[in-house]
């Protein structure tokens, strides 16, 4: 490691490289025995406990907004019978992975980052390495896997709560027909929509976990550094997740034909 080359953007590239390296390390290390089951369960439970309530509370109005918007739109173009179909599609394909991503990054990721960051500045991580235990294997892998598991489960929950919220607002507030709303569910939506939704959630969980761990393990000196790291972790994760969502959606729409076409 000699003098580092400097050009505009070199720092950003270097950080990106290190982030990817951590990602690869985590994937590789997650197959190493013994698997830290206890830590994994504890972390899963912890992430669930900080995300489940906010997720439910966010997904109700989210579903409602989509339902109301679509409700008035479909009425304008005279396609009321498709209200349910469109709102299910919108919630499952887009809204629920996005809500999951926001909550996993904002609540779960920030907690992971703060936890690892404070361990780092208390020299706990160093001590662990010196004791011959890899912090990636022992701490990061269980957290990333927990974030992935929880985001898949949260995604399912957001889908259900969002659809219920949409149903409620459409039927009660906009006097939609309950039967028509339910009957049109499968008019546009298809099973692959659910798959892509869950795959997105899985990938979002992975990214949120990796970014949080990376920022947590590399805070810039002192307690203030940990605060900054948490802040950055959340912002970086948001940016990455929205971008990845865009890429995945594009691929999905190109690869999987829409129903009926």
């Amino acid at each position: 490691m000699t003098a580092q080359t400097t050009f505009p953007g070199a720092g950003a590239l270097r950080e990106t490289g290190k982030l990817c390296q951590l990602g690869i390390d985590v994937v590789r290390t997650s197959f190493r025995r013994p698997f830290q089951l206890r830590e994994f369960i504890q972390q899963s439970w912890f992430i669930v406990s900080v995300t489940v309530l906010p997720t439910a509370l966010v997904s109700i109005p989210f579903g409602a907004v989509i339902a109301l918007q679509l409700g008035s739109l479909t009425r304008q173009i005279g396609a009321q019978s498709f209200t349910g179909a469109a709102s299910v599609l919108a919630i499952i394909q887009q809204a629920s992975p996005i809500v999951t991503a926001l909550l996993i990054a904002g609540a779960g990721g920030s907690a992971i980052c703060a936890d690892l960051g404070s361990r780092k500045i208390r020299e706990e991580i160093d001590a662990m390495e010196v004791l011959g235990v890899s912090p990636i294997h022992r701490l990061v892998v269980p957290r990333v896997l927990a974030a992935m598991l929880v985001s898949v489960l949260l995604n399912g929950m957001v889908s259900v709560v969002g659809v219920l919220g949409g149903y409620f607002f459409n039927v009660i507030m906009q006097d939609g027909t309950p039967g028509a709303y339910l009957a049109s569910f499968s008019a546009l939506a298809q099973l692959p929509d659910l798959w892509i939704s869950e795959i997105k959630a899985l990938i979002f969980g992975f990214i949120a976990g990796i970014v949080a761990a990376y920022r947590g393990l590399n805070p810039a000196g002192g307690p203030k550094g940990v605060g900054d790291a948490v802040n950055q972790a959340v912002v970086i994760t948001f940016l990455l997740l929205f971008f990845v969502n865009f890429v995945l959606t594009t691929i999905y729409l190109t690869v999987v034909p829409a129903k009926g076409s």
Partner: protein, 351 residues
């Protein structure tokens, strides 16, 4: 017996700032060494480099034939199992109580039953005087207790190299004395190589076999304790006596004007912060607690030092010879009254 640590031409910098450069020294196997240095001279960085937590840019750290600076991650983790490191604040895991903290290395690296783990952990806890505090969390105990628990954790795997980062910081003089005794006793019992990084003069004078000093990005000297304790080097003299007059200043760099002003103050009768007596000179080394085995390191070091004694400065020679018994003086064929002219310049140098 502990292992030898060979450091060659080690240089570490953070960005453009060089912490220290070209550090070359050998920690003799099984001996106790102390690295002195004013605050901020990179003593802790040196310690962290020795366990591979920081990667120096140049040079080698060779342990058992493996260069820590360039070896693979896997190899590094293997070598680290030989280390016991005491961090400045103990570095205990905040989410575990003391018992689990100390049991952690055993549970991770050995297949011992829980009963055996319990026996070892309780033995080490008794050694550092923490009996009864098993279920306390690190956040609930004092800094001194954290430090002792950190030491207990560093010792459970019977390390061959023990590194201590300022064992005295945050401890009162009595506890520091107990800790020094504990380290010497440990050395007598398991014959581990020990490196203590500190700026405590008492520890430096009484504990080590070898003594070194870092100052201004360089290793000022490293060698048998007598060499540094009798050195005329201005930095060493100032540091040992804890006075303001000399090359070490409040900030990292001290300019000529400040030095001149301080000299003028001192000439006018203002105290320079030190005691009147000069604390340099060879004092008797700490012995293991009676009943424990004799330290093999002392015998090995004596042979080693006596083989190079004619290359040491005159004062150091005198100090060493004076510390020998008449029989030993006869055996090594040296006499306190017959000084050998030193080939070394009087102002000292890196050994």
């Amino acid at each position: 017996m502990g292992v030898e640590v060979v450091v060659e031409g080690l240089t570490k910098s953070f960005g453009k700032q060089t912490i220290w450069q070209d550090v070359t020294l050998t920690l003799p196997p099984g001996e106790v060494s102390v690295m002195l240095g004013p605050s901020g001279t990179g003593k802790s960085v040196f310690l962290k480099s020795l366990v591979g937590l920081l990667k120096p840019e140049q040079g080698k750290i060779v342990i058992n034939g493996t260069d820590l600076v360039r070896c693979s991650e896997h190899k590094l983790y293997e070598i680290r199992k030989m280390f016991g490191v005491l961090f400045q604040d103990g570095a205990l895991f905040g989410s575990m109580d003391l018992y689990d903290n100390i049991a952690f290395p055993l549970r991770e690296h050995t297949r011992k039953t829980e009963a055996e783990v319990r026996r070892i952990v309780l033995e080490k806890m008794e050694m550092v005087g923490l009996v009864g505090a098993e279920r306390k969390l690190p956040g609930e105990i004092s800094g001194g207790m954290r430090k002792r628990a950190g030491l207990a954790r560093a010792l459970v795997l019977d390390p061959e190299i023990i590194l201590c980062d300022e064992p005295d910081s945050g401890l009162d003089p009595v506890r520091t004395a107990y800790l020094s005794q504990l380290l010497i006793d440990l050395n007598a019992q398991i014959d581990a190589t020990i490196l203590i990084v500190t700026h405590n003069i008492n520890i430096a004078r009484t504990v080590p076999d070898n003594l070194g000093m870092l100052f201004r990005r360089e290793l000022v000297m490293f060698g048998p304790r007598e060499v540094l304790l009798t050195s005329d080097e201005p930095v060493v003299e100032q540091f040992l006596n804890g006075r303001r007059l000399g090359p070490i200043g409040m900030s990292e760099e001290k300019d000529q004007a400040t030095m001149a002003a301080e000299q003028a103050h001192a000439d006018a009768g203002h105290s320079d912060g030190s005691l009147d007596e000069d604390v340099r000179g060879v004092v008797p080394q700490l012995e293991p607690t009676p009943g424990l085995p004799f330290r093999d390191a002392v015998r090995r070091r004596k042979d080693r030092v006596m083989s190079i004694i004619h290359h040491l400065p005159y004062e150091a020679q005198q100090g060493i010879i004076a510390s020998l018994t008449p029989e030993e003086q006869a055996r090594y064929n040296v006499h306190a009254t017959a000084p050998t002219p030193s080939p070394w310049p009087r102002q000292g140098g890196v050994l």
